[in-house]
């Protein structure tokens, strides 16, 4: 299997060297060979892919093909596609089928991308490894004993294994850039509000962004060009005009100013990654870029701030999963039997109790769940996995009476300080460079017992989500352990062109 970009595939399709049906056939055989091991796709529909191919082929013949002709794409299982299962890799959405298309899906179809399947992820996008999935972990195509990163692990792995030439993921704290780094592909998180989230199942609404993965900077620019822009169905979607992202990726300027936060290239960062990125920066400087030392004084607070705000928002967003209108519902008769047994047991205990015990037992009896409340509880308890429950609990705790100001209010204030750090830095530089992640991909199962250790993988990516700015990760090299690692650029809000420009310069170094 040779890796082929959208740009290359498009050229061949338009020249008549290959038909779209043949192109889909090629990806189908690659998926049949690789997916069982890599576990990137959790749902595939080749019949639909061939139908799309035939319909678009007719447009090609009439000279009417769209910008994404030749794109064979998979979609993270958190973005709604009409008539297809949408589970967010959670048991609570078992059997759910979307009744509408997300705006990004409509836009991909409108430009003639072919959508072939849905991709693995951490449940509800909560995780940095893709291990928290009802479908089991997606595996790193470079070494299948290693994690893909997450939460968009399937989206990164599918591109890396040649099972799609582009995919969509979502990024709330690094969920596009970190797996892109671990899997050796390009991943872009757009500015908050750049891409419509209508049809994206919400995790943390003040952070969530949809963005593309691809083999090349130009390909992610082409997908971004298609999906970005105003949408009246998403009130947080901005009406700021789009740039020509493809041009930015094709003809980069060399004399850019790159901010280097020296403090982030130190403790905790793998030494080889550190050296590798510094070498790239030296080459960019030799080619005309200016390296500017900068400070982001509040970056050490980013992780704590993020995990307060994101879990708070998640606990609120995930309240909708109650087993009533869609998704998993606990067995009603079993639930009623359970309640009845609890009531009987309490009544029996009351009979033989005295004094304080009696009072507390009577209180328990009056506080016993109503059947509907118990149905919510049982459905949610059966449906959500361990990491999702942990975050719902944390989020509910930090929002609860007595703790709101100490945690949530505090974090919102620190978020402003972090945002101001970036605003100040971007007065003097076009982009800021950092590693994407502190290490290469680690072993499956290695970090599951310590949530704080797992959260630390997001240390370089999370600030962009807190500040609402855009970021990109692209391959920076191969570690002596054989695994790829990425370099990250961040640019100010709605400055995706600057990101693509800087990323293309790195790509040109080869």
């Amino acid at each position: 299997m040779t890796i082929q970009t959208i740009a290359e595939a498009k050229k061949k399709v338009l020249a008549g060297d290959v038909t779209l049906r043949e192109l889909v056939e090629g990806y189908k055989s690659q998926i049949e060979a690789e997916n069982e091991e890599v576990n990137a796709y959790v749902y595939l529909n080749f019949d639909s892919a061939f139908e799309q191919a035939d319909a678009i082929q007719k447009k090609v013949e009439k000279g009417e093909a769209g910008a994404l002709v030749g794109a064979i794409m998979g979609i993270k299982d958190v973005i709604c596609e009409r008539g297809k299962p949408v589970t967010c890799a959670s048991n609570i959405l078992d059997g759910f089928e979307s009744v509408y298309d997300a705006t990004v899906i409509e836009r991909l179809h409108a430009e003639d991308a072919i959508l072939i399947g849905r991709l693995n992820m951490d449940e509800f996008a909560m995780g940095s490894t893709n291990e928290y999935s009802r479908y089991g972990a997606a595996k790193n195509p470079h070494d299948t004993t290693k994690v893909t990163g997450g939460s968009s692990g399937g989206s990164a792995a599918a591109v890396a294994a040649g099972m799609a030439n582009a995919t969509l993921g979502s990024d709330t704290g690094g969920s596009i850039r970190q797996p892109a780094s671990y899997c050796g592909v390009v991943g872009l998180k757009p500015t908050y509000g750049r891409v419509s989230r209508y049809g994206l199942v919400a995790f943390a609404s003040s952070f969530d962004s949809i963005g593309p993965f691809g083999h090349s900077v130009e390909d992610v620019a082409t997908v971004l060009q298609t999906i970005a822009g105003f949408d009246e169905r998403d009130n947080t979607c901005s009406s700021v005009e789009k740039d020509d992202y493809v041009v930015a990726a094709q003809s980069p300027k060399k004399n850019i100013k790159i901010g280097v936060p020296e403090a982030l290239f130190g403790e905790g960062l793998d030494v080889e990654i550190n050296t590798g990125i510094k070498e790239i920066l030296n080459k960019l400087e030799a080619d005309g870029a200016e390296l500017v030392p900068i400070e982001l004084p509040h970056s050490k607070y980013a992780l704590a701030t993020y995990y307060i705000l994101a879990t708070a928002e998640a606990s609120s967003n995930l309240a909708r999963f109650d087993g009533i209108r869609y998704g998993h519902r606990a067995d009603k008769d079993q639930m009623l039997d359970e309640l009845k047994a609890e009531e009987e047991a309490l009544k029996q205990a009351v009979k033989s109790a005295e004094g304080d015990d009696l009072v507390s037992l009577q209180q328990e009896l009056t506080k016993l769940d109503a059947p509907l409340t118990r149905l919510y509880k049982k459905s949610r308890t059966e449906g959500f996995g361990v990491e999702v429950k942990r975050r719902i609990m944390l989020g509910t705790y930090v929002l609860s009476a007595g703790y709101y100001d100490a945690y949530y209010g505090k974090a919102q204030r620190v978020r402003r300080l972090i945002k101001e750090d970036f605003t100040n830095a971007f007065k003097n530089v076009d982009v800021i460079v950092t590693p994407t992640a502190p290490t290469t991909a680690f072993g499956i199962g290695e970090k599951q017992n310590d949530p704080v250790q797992m959260y630390l993988n997001d240390i370089y990516t999370i600030s962009a989500n807190l500040a609402g700015i855009c970021g990109i990760s692209l391959p920076a090299g191969t570690h002596s352990n054989g695994l790829p690692y990425g370099i990250q650029f961040m640019a100010d809000s709605f400055q995706e062109s600057k990101l693509l420009n800087a990323a293309r310069l790195v790509e040109l170094l080869g």
């Binding site: 509040h298 992780l303 009533i324 944390l394 705790y397 809000s493």
Partner: protein
């Protein structure tokens, strides 16, 4: 600050989750570890800082109050675990 097992049970009820004794113990460990890490923020004096609620400038957009088709009644009920032809069905609420 540290979270007690009693608080964990209280929060679980608010979050509409059922926890086993083992869950409560594990969550107490995890949450205390994570909340302990979050105490880092107390190094910063933020009394003069306004909370940040929106990361980008957002215009309040008004639209005409027009009725437009969304999804059909049938589609809205399609994914329901239990429904009749008109409504979602739930356990009896009023005795």
């Amino acid at each position: 600050m540290s979270v007690s097992e009693k608080e964990i049970r209280y929060v679980a009820n608010l979050a509409r989750l059922q926890l086993t004794e083992e869950d409560v113990e594990n969550l107490a460990l995890d949450m205390n570890k994570i909340l302990g890490y979050m105490d880092l923020l107390n190094e910063l004096d933020t009394t003069e800082i306004e909370p940040l609620e929106h990361v980008i400038e957002m215009d309040s957009r008004l639209r005409k109050d027009e009725a437009k088709p969304t999804i059909s009644h049938e589609e809205a009920l399609k994914n329901a675990p239990d429904a009749d032809s008109d409504y979602f069905r739930v356990p009896k609420v009023i005795e």
